[in-house]
Symmetry: D2
Subunit: 136 residues, 4 copies
């Protein structure tokens, strides 16, 4: 299942070279991941109340830059869970700009529960099968 | 009492017109205010623990733009409390770029306590005289 | 004429107090202004090619904060030109969050031409009547 | 040669989970890279005027998150060129927070010249040996 997250490149997203300042692609990945999860019924409230998951902490993030985007471009992020581990998952993001790919990126995140021994800290938890099924 | 907060204008702070994207001046004002408060011994922890103040919510903010700044400029923000009300205060910010003023701005904020009737909300509180004295 | 610019408050727009970090309201005002201008046929390309206007430099910006917004809120910015000067204009922004106003703000900007005496600099120019008419 | 770039985690860098919102680590990497280059005498002006290099476009970026940072933390980024290719280079960034590593990241960038056939576009160029020597 692939979710499409639309982006319009705004003036303030671009740098003096007149292209997108690259950290914004990561901002958009974070947004696209949350919107994907909401789309399958796993918004932050559902994650917390149904699954006891206070957040999806990051292990790693990555991006490959294919072609710059400029002010006014309308991009589509194709976002999906591309890999399920036992306690982690990888969310992949393809930024399309018209007929070409602008950026390919991914975020590896942990499915977490509160750590019973350390208040405020999180520990990895096993991802339920019914969660995985929502993204099929 | 005037505190000097130094800023270097970074690449990502500038827009395709090759000048600072204006919301960053407000980001720097927020930072300069917190550094001013820390400088007089009123960091976030002291505010909360000594005065029961969980934050300084905003009433209004304002900026007048005199001259643009560009990538690589080194600015100094002269920040001070310019006005004390009974439950509010105004923090003024002068952005100096070499020998000229780049931006003049201010933030009007509330001295607050937790609202006993509405958990998570804040209400205005009278500013203690010893707080005002720290900024003299 | 009032243009409606929709905003969804994203995770990264919010601070540790779990409300919108205020400089983002100015980012959204800048975006809303450009979208308003595009809506009436005055995108950046038209401004430059039809009117010789390379940009709309800022004189002042201002915001009054009425009520905080939080992650996941869907806001509407009602944006309009609220005042026309001879060489300047004021763009007003009302941020609606459901049935209440979250923020009221404005930007005062210059209608500009390139300065013939100083390459790369701008000077104020008289706003044509047909431009004003587009916003009626 | 390792350059140390200091960071103070500001209020607006943190999210509702009260930790650094991860795209800011990439913003800091971009800053640290430019400061490293300036430190060895290769600021943007020198790159352009001495070497005909208008910028260092990105191929890929990556980060591994070890431990969150919070408001008020003072980090040091240890930044260095960790790999030289024929026309590309990798800049590595270790974010230290007191005695532990918070984030490890890298940026792979192109040494570029203007493309003579396509105005405004860049093409990879061979990295001069004297440039590499500056970072030894």
């Amino acid at each position: 299942m692939v979710f499409e997250y639309p982006i319009r490149v705004e003036w303030g997203d671009c740098d003096p070279a007149q292209i997108v300042f690259y950290p914004h692609y990561y901002r958009w990945m974070d947004e696209a991941t949350l919107h994907l999860f909401e789309h399958v019924g796993l918004g932050w409230t559902a994650l917390r109340e149904t699954y006891g998951v206070p957040g999806l902490p990051l292990i790693s993030t990555h991006a490959d830059y294919k072609r710059p985007s400029v002010f006014g471009d309308r991009l589509t992020v194709n976002v999906r869970v591309s890999d399920w581990g036992r306690t982690s998952l990888t969310v992949s993001h393809t930024f399309l700009n018209g007929d070409h790919v602008s950026v390919e990126g991914w975020e590896k995140r942990i499915w977490s529960h509160p750590d019973p021994d350390r208040p405020g800290r999180l520990i990895p938890a096993v991802i339920p099968e019914d969660v995985k099924a929502k993204f099929a």
